[in-house]
Amino acid sequence: MSYGTQSIHRETFVLNLGPQHPATHGVLRIKLTMDGEYIDDAEPVIGYGHRMQEKMGENRTYVKYLPNTARMDYVAALFNSHGYVCAVERLAGITVPERAEFIRVITAELNRVASHLLWVGAFLIDLGGFTPLLYTFDDREQILDLLEAVTGARLTFCYYRFGGVCNDIDDEFIAGTRKFIAHLRSRMPMYHAFITKNIIFRKRCEEIAPISAETCRKYGATGPVMRGSGVAYDVRKLEPYSVYPRFAFNVPVYPQCDCMARYLVRMDEMVESLRIVEQALEQLPGGPVMAEKVPRMLKPAKGDCYFNVESARGTFGVRLVSDGTDKAYRLKLRSPCFSNLSLFQECSRGLLLPDALALLGSLDLVIPDIDR
């Protein structure tokens, strides 16, 4: 019985991993009840980034709400816009031309790669390594240049419209994307060499903070968190939407359930997304990028519908209830980080504080996506 784990009862103290903390990537506060270095109970307190997204959904017309969709999960903003736009199109019965669907998939998958690159940099900072951030941000900037040329924004894109996209992609974008795909593919071995094989990183992530598949199902944690626990749940494969069925890509799944598995899932997902973009560029059809007669003041039919997309952090669902007017009656946004974080209280009990931060980083949280 070594000294370290003797469990004579000691007084616990409450530590605030507060709203302003480098590891919380935003304004998440976790009330930690600590017993020395171990966590007795970690209660996340959210709401510091609440920006009334759902209330605004009810007092803005459908078109005016588009910029809001990009300000929830702003690191992978195009998925939120994709979910919202498709939900309204499903309710209003608008069909989107082929080329627009392809452009949506290309830009969304590029956004996924940019989001994962940012996550790798941020995750390594949580574990104490600063250098990977400079490399991954350098690559991410190249994606932002591509997306900015087409959409005009770097982060909070307002690119998708009901019935298509607002700006067609040109050859320069296609050439730039192809060049970027080759560039990032050549960089992946370097990333694996100096991050994945780094002994300190492996010691900090392997067998740390396991999340079982059952816990993921019970809490509704989806995306790379669930695929790191051995469950191959991917909305693009299970409920195919848009033109995803036309591309051959596989869903990376790792059964180890620990932080390393979630990291490897995201690294492989980047490569898969590049494959999707490559195939989409090859099969890119011509034609218009906007449906013809989309009424300016959109009034979808009465009723409700649900649409969800595979965002970079999990399934992002939109439940839209409309009463026939030009504003939504109720707009529920199912955000992936909300459910991913809800399992933190249970999974961090008994962890050491640094391991709990590794778990928090591996959940890939964006706080305004949680607080909406």
Binding site: M52, A221, E239, G303, K332
Partner: protein
């Protein structure tokens, strides 16, 4: 467990002798379980079940055994009919089938049993719905405010809410 078995089990919730008004969009005030088959492509879910409020935990337990995952809990304020509606979205991880369970509550006394015991993930969803609508989930381990400031007593998403 395929969708048909789930559909059969749900119809067991139906109150005997109650007229099954098939196809009516807003079910009669009588607590009747109305199981409607919908097309995924059109509505986004496969099975739309309206259960009486006190049977919500049975619905959750039934879907939990069928290895469904709780996606979201949505609150709805039908102020015209003086009713609240709580919508539970479940999805199957293997088949991709989606089941939506609805419960209607009188607006005056919004009372509903909590399913946080079966789905721990529902804990936060219910606290958030309580935040925005004031719907009380009985048996919830800690129904405090989640997104609003600790001392908030207003419920912002009510249709008659004014800041």
């Amino acid at each position: 467990m395929s969708l048909e078995i789930i559909k059969a089990k749900f119809s067991a919730f139906a109150v005997h002798g109650a007229p099954l008004t098939a196809g009516a969009d807003t079910p009669a005030a009588l607590p009747v379980s109305l199981v409607v088959e919908t097309r995924h492509a059109v509505k986004g879910y496969d099975l739309d079940v309206t259960v009486p409020p006190e049977r919500v935990t049975d619905a959750a337990r039934l879907l939990d055994e069928a290895a469904f995952m709780l996606e979201a809990i949505t609150g709805l304020d039908w102020i015209a009919e003086q009713q609240f509606e709580v919508v539970y979205d479940y999805t199957s991880l293997t088949t991709g089938a989606r089941v939506t369970v609805r419960a209607r509550l009188p607006r005056a006394t919004p009372e509903l049993p909590s399913i946080a015991g079966i789905y721990p993930g529902a804990n936060w969803h219910e606290r958030e719905t309580h935040d925005f609508f004031g719907i009380v989930f009985t048996g919830h381990p800690g129904l405090t405010t989640l997104l609003l400031p600790e001392d908030a007593v207003f419920h912002p998403l009510l249709k008659d809410f004014s800041a």
